[in-house]
Subunit: 322 residues, 2 copies
Amino acid sequence: MHTPNQLQEVIENAVQNIQYAAHPQRLYEPIRYIMSLGGKRIRPVLTLMAAELFKGDIQKTMPAALAIETFHNFTLIHDDIMDNAPLRRGKQTVHEKWGVNNAILSGDVMMVEANKQLSMLDSAVLKDALNTFNATAQGVCEGQQLDMEFEEQEVVSIADYINMIRLKTAVLLGGAMKLGAQVAGASPDEAEQLYTFGENLGIAFQLQDDILDVYGDPEKFGKQVGGDIIANKKTLLLLKLKELATENDLQELEYQSVNKDHVDKIKNTTALYDDYNIRGLASIEMKKYSDKAFSALTSLNIAEERKTELFSLADQLMNREY
Amino acid sequence: MHTPNQLQEVIENAVQNIQYAAHPQRLYEPIRYIMSLGGKRIRPVLTLMAAELFKGDIQKTMPAALAIETFHNFTLIHDDIMDNAPLRRGKQTVHEKWGVNNAILSGDVMMVEANKQLSMLDSAVLKDALNTFNATAQGVCEGQQLDMEFEEQEVVSIADYINMIRLKTAVLLGGAMKLGAQVAGASPDEAEQLYTFGENLGIAFQLQDDILDVYGDPEKFGKQVGGDIIANKKTLLLLKLKELATENDLQELEYQSVNKDHVDKIKNTTALYDDYNIRGLASIEMKKYSDKAFSALTSLNIAEERKTELFSLADQLMNREY
């Protein structure tokens, strides 16, 4: 078995070695670009870790891991168009660099590349892998749709919000793990348990992100602290505050939402969060999901020592400050 | 064996019976919309006809036929965004009706729906089918990319143009047939021969389209006669004329390209085509590809009577006036 860092390196190498067609250059160049922007490769790492739990071979599982990573990067290209985002990992987004039309089409062909990767799996596991992959991809699209709709919606319930982040973010972590388990020959129940682990870990991870956006250490947090507040993003914290706040405080929140002084806006909105102990309440909500994740992994009927790396990775993700 | 009309009806029914998820509504509504705009369903008909050549079962082949038709309609949604097209089959395009972001995302999830259809095929033929489908999808994306690039390019050779329409249009006809043959258990050689038939038929079909745009009967041709001329579209006819025209005639062509009086523009450009017998030359080029198609089907080693329907369909496509 390997550590997450070792697996990340193996994946990084495999990503660099994917051969895309040379022509038309403008179609494939954006794929090479986004795939080489790096990141922690957390999704394919989870696929390989899930496979190793069941003594699966890393190289045999690699097509599934690369399919997941390629699909994820495809969604980044199309999401960035829809969100009108100028930057991705500190670099120009694909549509900024090559134009929207090119970004749409390079994204489309990346989806095909992901499916090509997947089709290299052993025939014996192919059908199950396709079903998991397609269900995952569909969920991610649904999540992005809900995310866009929620931006326009006046009222969003916390349950709806959790369902949205489940689809947009968590389903892919769950799917990545289920895929790894299936390729390694896990039983349907075992594969499903890993899905549960990954999905709940993903929800907890995203809620943690919501908390860190406000309470993260500016020295350690990768993004701008208060970014969600500036953008009036409907996060768990904002939705929770809206549920609890008095009429007066809701008015203050409304006023802050149009405050052009960003430093002041962050300070005053955070003060409102503090008044209602939103950080504590959000942490409780987050813990619900991380508990579910850990309990799914705990109840998985395999030797405890095989689970060590996965427990430690999950622990690390849940206790990060960045 | 069935006639193309019978198969079209079977497919129409199957398309109407595809169950898409209900929510998020705005994600799936565009799929139902574009899939119900109709059309001749020529690609899935070819898939089923190819299967019947090898005594394949229609219902067993249907997932492949529906995957092809779903994929084709997905490309229509994304192409219409890129081409900024307001209408598709006389109705509002998806991005006009639901907005660009929604059209991108509904297209994406349609690609997943196509893959879901395909994954319902028998495990025994799944890997070959995936390879054919993915190679086809990749080719179509490359064709669209080249089409966009050619619009910006000053000089496009006829060979490059034919390669572009091969990828953008013909590869999908070839892939549709190869897929049908593979699902029905044809040998690799037989499947490849049907691919050759479909691909060359597709090229001839598109060249025929270029000719009909100028010389079609306005009463019978589905689109506006002269539409390509108005749009200064680089068709086989225009590229051929540019190859042959004198300096003077090239100047006249240049002048016509900015002529705002469309009736006059069509009349004068067509006169230039007539001067160089472009219609005859284009027909010769077209015939090269239809001959290749017919010869691939002729040399296929199966009972002649099984080929009758396919020959007659191809004949009809090549001698259409609309």
